[in-house]
Amino acid sequence: MAGFELFPPPSLWDNLRLFWQFEDMNVLWVLMGSVLLGMSASVIGGFAFLRKRALIGDALAHAALPGVMMAFLLFQTRDPLIIFIGALCSSFIGFFLIDWLPKNTKIKADAALAITLSFFFAIGLMLLSFIQGMEVNNKSGLDKILFGQAAAMTEGDIKLLGYVTVFVLVTVVLFFQKFRLIAFNQAYARTLGIAVNRYELLLALLIVMSVVVGLQLVGVVLMAAVLLTPMAAARYWSNQLAHILIIAALLGALSALISTQISYLAPAMPTGPWMVVSLSVLFILSLLFAPQKGLIKQHLNYKRLRQKVAEENVLRTLYKLHEGHPFSHHHFTQADIQSFRNMPSSCLQNTLKQLCKKGLTECTTQGFTLTPEGIKKATQLTRRHRLWENYLNEQAALSPDQVHQQAERIEHILTDAQEAQLQQELSNSQQDPHGNQIPSSVPSSIQSPVHSKEGGGRN
């Protein structure tokens, strides 16, 4: 692939343009190959991730090294297929070892991974240093496998990459249902009569193949990330496995695109690290910005909830104040509200502003009062609060103080259906444990308290 290396960059923009014009077919082939790799590795890595074996790609990649060296030694060729088969064999032996060790010795799963990874890699390095001492042709470039170098790939390499990755993707699509079931609940799958072992073997084969075929592009050390990171990032975007895998594939493809681009612009640099860096960036972006599960969204939701809680609390306090002055159209000041509910002044001010904007309260120079809309909402809230207090009192044997504290929170999330259920289950739905009237669901105006026991409470 001489053409790839002979492009000295006249300027960055010129190069970018050239890249996207695909004038150099080699570039196009490498790009396609790496995109396919990104997609297949991330999809099959997703299944490894689900089986709690996120780092198996790491071990298998390292385990492939002796196979590569042996294939070269035995056949004195760099034919892609032969190297591939050699790598496949030793990687598979590694896979078997990772499985066997915890089952038959005291050694635990994590140690088994680390042992396989380092032992096989050491064998590979021994063979490599042996080969480098030998007088043979074709031996250069074998060490490119450590960090990956797109520029060093031949046409044969890329063809093989294409075939294998397409095979992996197609197989996953075909067997998706079975794979998913086995990943989720292996024992159950067995009881259904599914030949679990055969599918496990197939899955293992696919993982090993994906890892081995990607080594030239990404390198041994960083292959783990290509399997693991897309899936980890995609998880933040969806809850359905099929969607997650598709997103993972897209992320893999995107990072392949970016890293190939960079590798083209700077041929001296290894490709693998750039793919990992772009994947990590995508991961961080997903972690922060994904809708629903992203951290930023969660934080915003939380803020919104706090505001809702504050508003509803103020509404109820106004209701209570109104209860104390039944037949007058009274305006209450902030201080009045604060005497019943302990809230920092700034927070109270903001909340009242919001309520006024929403038309639930009326803000005048004399103070604050509930609008008809506000009365409706406040009544509903108070009703729920007091019903709930009754429920806790009857069913949970809590003291009135404890009851009040609980109800303060639950009232914000009671649905209509639950409210109706409460009403049904209670024997007393007229008064709460403090003796306050429970308003009926269709208020015309705010009713006056009938019996207000001593210490009617701060509700």
Partner: protein
């Protein structure tokens, strides 16, 4: 000849220090964290050098420890806050750090005398030529030559590790065996966790020069695993681990000499071979015991008839 001695001495210390620390990694099921830290410290070394423009040992150790602790902490945070499973958290953090390290090396190739490949598997055969001088000021050829830099690096770390383990033995044992009990006894298990990670970081970076990243993992995990299989107490496990590691050095060095291959790789391979030998012997024992039991059982049946 003298070079051989330095090489052997360095290798022995590296293997011993890694074995000691590795025992605790194995017992606490944190082998993968050891793998992760040994990759991440590359970034620590590179950054330390780029920022301070010095290859002084304390600087390197400092950079390594900072990045090592950062790796452990970030992995844990990703696990807690990002709700990502723990092995995935570790994987994402260390591959990113390692990738950045490699990119930095590649960008500043002229200024750092770290080669990408060297970083991975080191070359212990070269260390005698990179010697420490004291008393000579900045000039490399003045002063008194006291031996290879790598040797002194690992010697210092080995002593630190040894003393730590001796002094805090009971604590480390309780925390490794039964963290919940330790917690209920009022022991600060978070502190001890990061203490161990600090030891791992220091050991890793000191071994880097000699054996490189991947092989550090081998020396951390493999001799300790062999010891795990046969030890009956924590103390003997530590002894066995060091013993296995020294045997690996001896065999590995001879092998490398015979086959003319990388010394560090040979040491790691020998460690693995010893492990599998141990496993094989234990399996044979198990098989023999089962066979004996079967014979006894059939005798019983025969006697009952």
């Amino acid at each position: 000849m003298i070079n051989d001695i330095w090489i052997l001495a360095t290798a022995s210390l590296v293997a011993a220090a890694c074995a000691l620390v590795g025992v605790f990694l194995i017992l606490r099921r944190q082998a993968l964290m050891g793998d992760a830290i040994s990759h991440s410290v590359l970034l620590g070394i590179v950054l330390a050098y780029l920022i301070t423009d010095s290859r002084a040992l304390p600087i390197m150790l400092g950079g390594a420890v900072i990045i090592g602790l950062l790796t452990a902490w970030l992995s844990d945070t990703l696990n807690r806050v990002g709700k990502l499973q723990s092995d995935a958290s570790i994987g994402i953090v260390f591959t990113l750090f390692f990738a950045i390290g490699v990119i930095l090396i590649s960008l500043y190739a002229g200024q750092i005398d770290l080669d990408q490949e060297c970083v991975l598997y080191g070359e212990i055969a070269f260390i005698p030529f990179d010697t420490l001088h004291i008393g000579g000021g900045g000039n490399l050829n003045d002063g008194f030559e006291i031996g290879p830099r790598a040797f002194w690096a690992i010697a210092v770390v080995f002593i630190i590790v040894l003393i730590s383990i001796i002094v805090a033995f009971n604590r480390l044992q309780t925390v490794a065996f039964h963290p919940k009990l330790a917690l209920s006894l009022g022991i600060n298990i978070v502190f001890w966790h990061y203490f161990l990670m600090t030891l791992v970081s220091m050991t890793t970076v000191a071994s880097f020069d000699a054996v490189g990243a991947i092989l550090v993992v081998a020396l951390l995990v493999i001799p300790a695993s062999s010891a795990y299989l046969i030890a009956k107490s924590l103390k003997t496990m530590l002894w066995f681990a060091v013993g296995y590691s020294q045997a690996s050095v001896a065999i590995g060095y001879t092998l490398a000499y015979q086959l003319d291959s990388s010394i560090s790789a040979s040491i790691a391979v020998s460690a693995g071979v010893l492990l599998f030998l141990t496993i094989a012997i234990l399996q044979v024992q198990k098989w023999r015991q089962r066979h004996k039991k079967e014979i006894l059982n059939s005798h019983h049946k025969y006697n009952r008839l």
